[in-house]
């Protein structure tokens, strides 16, 4: 057996959103032109003067003359230059934005530019942290210290190398003159702030999943590709389309209904767990909670689909239907769902039980669907497959939607739910509390426990539903008489 260390051949995997780098590099090189580029000045620091420092306003002015667009776009472009690491700020080094005032910036050396091919590696980061440790005499920032300990754990086999290399690089760095040393420290620090951002800052280096095609390479479109494109477009022209007034109207209606429920557009009550590390929101919205939240209850009123998709809403609906003694539609719908999503081996037996319980004339929970659908379904059940009950299920769904759903919304059950619903207040955490929350994150409920709860509930429901069938049958027979 040959032991091969995994030496990644990064040339084969391209990060797709980074193909703007070639254009940005060309622009940065243009900025260096002594006549038409950005004018630099000098910075005085104690006894040293360091040249080539630029102000934010100069950069923004240069971009405006070059690109000739609106001020907002120029501002955004400048901030992207800083966020990607081509220019780094000198004064507020953790905040990577371009300010349109006299704040000072400097260009980054090409080795530290973001590139398509070279990712910032963990072993390099470990060497940098070790060097910083030496320079700061052990006082690293808390997030850096956390990274350092983590890297010491999992890069342990290379740790000797990392320590040796860090000390050597530190000593070699001392061979340069003082102003150059200062600039080098700033450059390295800026590079690692871009590539290993401190907590709770945004990073421009988030890219999508890696691709196998180089986005910067030119693509030759073959004759066959053109032929297929033509076919595709010809077929697309012949398809019937929805009028844009209709589709845009539907989109506008959707947005107005759902805009308060979207966690990006409206604040999540009590607080968004991904941002504040506090999972009250998830505990309030669990599957089997006694009192649902107001937002959830409001969502049930939007459509029958929302009501049935939310399992807690389905329970509520079931309670209502039990009072009305018309639970067979929902039971059939649920059984059809189970058939659709269940295992292939259980399908024949499930189809049998469904047939016997719901479809046979005189069955205990006979559903009232029209003759044609009933005929199709019964014929299909001879050779049951996953979607035999699709037509019947749709019909039942429409029956529920047109009739039962609106009665439910006006019923005391729903109004009761609305009154009792929780409306939690939003948290407002201070940054210290946020840090604490981040450290006290718990793993949450284990899925096995949730599954066990589900099984218990199902067993209870099965036991409870058996006697009701007989009662329903009896009452039906009485009514028929």
């Amino acid at each position: 057996m040959t032991i091969r260390t995994v030496r990644p051949n990064r040339v084969q995997h391209f990060r797709p959103r980074t193909h703007c780098f070639k254009k940005l590099e060309a622009m940065v090189v243009e900025m260096q032109d002594p006549n038409s580029g950005v004018k630099g000045s000098e910075q005085k620091l104690n006894v040293n003067t360091i040249p080539h420092v630029i102000t934010g306003e100069d950069v923004i002015a240069w971009i405006t003359t070059k690109m000739k667009t609106t001020p907002e776009e120029v501002q955004a472009f400048g901030t992207m230059l800083v966020a990607y690491g081509y220019i780094y700020p000198l004064q507020n080094h953790k905040k990577l934005v371009m300010c349109n005032d006299t704040s000072l910036y400097r260009f980054q050396t090409p080795y530290f530019w973001p590139t398509q091919n070279w990712v910032a590696e963990d072993s390099d980061y470990a060497i940098y942290l070790a060097k910083r440790n030496i320079r700061k005499k052990g006082m690293l920032e808390p997030y850096e210290q956390a990274h350092y300990n983590h890297l010491h754990d999992w890069l342990n086999h290379k740790w000797d190398f990392i320590v040796m290399q860090a000390t050597e690089q530190y000593r070699a760095g001392k061979e340069r003159k003082k102003p150059d040393r200062v600039v080098f420290d700033c450059q390295e620090r800026a590079y690692w702030i871009v590539n290993r951002p401190p907590p709770r800052t945004h990073s421009a280096m988030d890219t999508g999943p890696e691709r196998l095609i180089d986005p910067t390479a030119d693509e030759k479109i073959t004759f066959d590709a053109y032929r297929r494109m033509n076919l595709f477009y010809q077929q697309a022209i012949m398809r019937s389309k929805v009028k844009s007034s209709v589709s845009l109207g539907a989109l506008a209606k959707y947005v107005t209904t759902y805009k308060n429920h979207d966690p990006f557009l409206a604040p999540c009550l009590p607080s968004n767990p991904w941002q504040t590390d506090n999972d009250t929101y998830w505990t309030y919205n669990m599957r089997r909670v006694d009192v649902p939240t107001k937002m959830r209850v409001e969502r049930w009123s939007f459509s029958l689909f929302e009501l049935l998709s939310d399992l807690r809403g389905r329970d509520d609906f079931k309670v209502f239907l039990k009072k009305e003694f018309s639970g067979e539609n929902l039971a059939f719908w649920e059984a059809a769902e189970e058939l659709k999503w269940g295992t292939a081996s259980s399908m024949p037996s499930k189809a049998e039980t469904i047939f016997k319980t719901f479809l046979v004339p005189g069955a205990p929970r006979w559903i009232n669907i029209d003759g044609r659908t009933m005929g199709l379904t019964v014929k299909g059940l001879d050779h049951p497959h996953r979607y035999v009950l699709e037509a019947a299920q749709t019909h039942v769904f429409l029956l529920m939607k047109k009739d039962t759903f609106f009665r439910y919304l006006k019923s005391p059950v729903y109004k009761d739910s609305q009154k009792k619903a929780l409306n939690p207040e939003s948290h407002s955490f201070s940054p210290a509390q946020l840090e604490q929350n981040a450290q006290n994150r718990s793993p949450g409920i284990h899925p096995i426990i949730l599954w066990q709860q589900e099984e218990e509930e199902k067993a209870k429901a099965a036991v409870a539903s058996a006697p009701v069938d007989i009662k329903a049958m009896m009452s039906k027979i009485d009514r028929k008489k």
Partner: protein
């Protein structure tokens, strides 16, 4: 002993790798120049010589089946050090090729990035080559000629690393490091003291560093001024006495 020889050679390779990285970081910026390209070339050659020497030594040591288990663990550790150095060197060489191609020196309108670094890197290269002063003798088209050499050298190095992996069976994850976390702090007592007055640009960086440097410098200057005044008063007193005497 074989081990000590190995260790000294590895230290040398380590030093050269660190210096090479410093040189590559200066490529393309305003401290780039003809001299820098030549320094890169020479450092690279030295690194390759050291690499070949290290490799032959370590392979011969590891192939020996009669060594004890502790010795073998030690050699595996040295092997991991060596291969990590070589990986770093290979990446730096590839990057220097890219950056060298993007920033040629002999074009009429050359735009080197104004990074603020203006000094030369002679001292770093001298450290790498272990000489006192560097002598430059390259001709003017070093950047293009050098890049061709560099490409062949990169392929050479990659080949060498492939061969290394084939011939020697060392599991790098099984090696335990001898240094614990924070070991770099202990080995740098003298280096730390000499960095009095290392300043930082950002105002957020601890002001006590700057203040410490200033305080020390201020204290020293006050001492010097006091001593000066003492000497002047002594001279005046002596002069007065001499005048009185005569």
């Amino acid at each position: 002993m074989g081990k000590d020889e190995c260790k000294t050679m590895l230290d040398a390779l380590n030093k050269v790798t660190a210096c090479y990285r410093h040189l590559v970081i200066a490529l393309g910026s305003t401290s780039d120049s003809q001299n820098l390209r030549e320094e890169l070339k020479r450092t690279r050659k030295k690194a390759q010589e050291l690499a070949v020497a290290n490799r032959t030594k370590l392979t011969s040591l590891l192939k020996d089946k009669t060594i004890s288990k502790d010795d073998r663990a030690e050699y595996e550790r040295l092997w991991v050090l060596f291969s990590s150095s070589m990986e770093l060197l290979e990446v730096d060489m590839k990057r220097s090729l890219e950056i060298g191609q993007d920033f040629p020196l002999k074009v009429p309108t050359r735009h080197l990035i104004q990074t603020g670094m203006t000094g030369s890197t002679t001292t770093v290269a001298a450290r790498a080559m272990s000489v006192q002063n560097m002598k430059y003798e390259a001709d003017s088209n070093i950047d293009t000629a050098d890049l061709r050499d560099l490409q062949s050298e990169i392929s050479h190095v990659s080949q060498m690393m492939e061969e290394m992996e084939m011939k020697v069976q060392v599991a790098p994850w099984a090696v335990e490091a001898k240094q614990e976390a924070g070991a770099e702090l202990k080995s740098n007592m003298s280096v730390g003291n000499s960095s009095v007055g290392v300043i930082s640009i950002c105002e957020e960086e601890p002001k006590d560093e700057e203040g410490g440097g200033n305080r020390d410098a201020g204290f020293a200057s006050i001492c010097a001024v006091l001593v000066f005044f003492v000497i002047v008063t002594v001279a005046l007193v002596l002069g007065y006495l001499v005048i009185n005497m005569s």
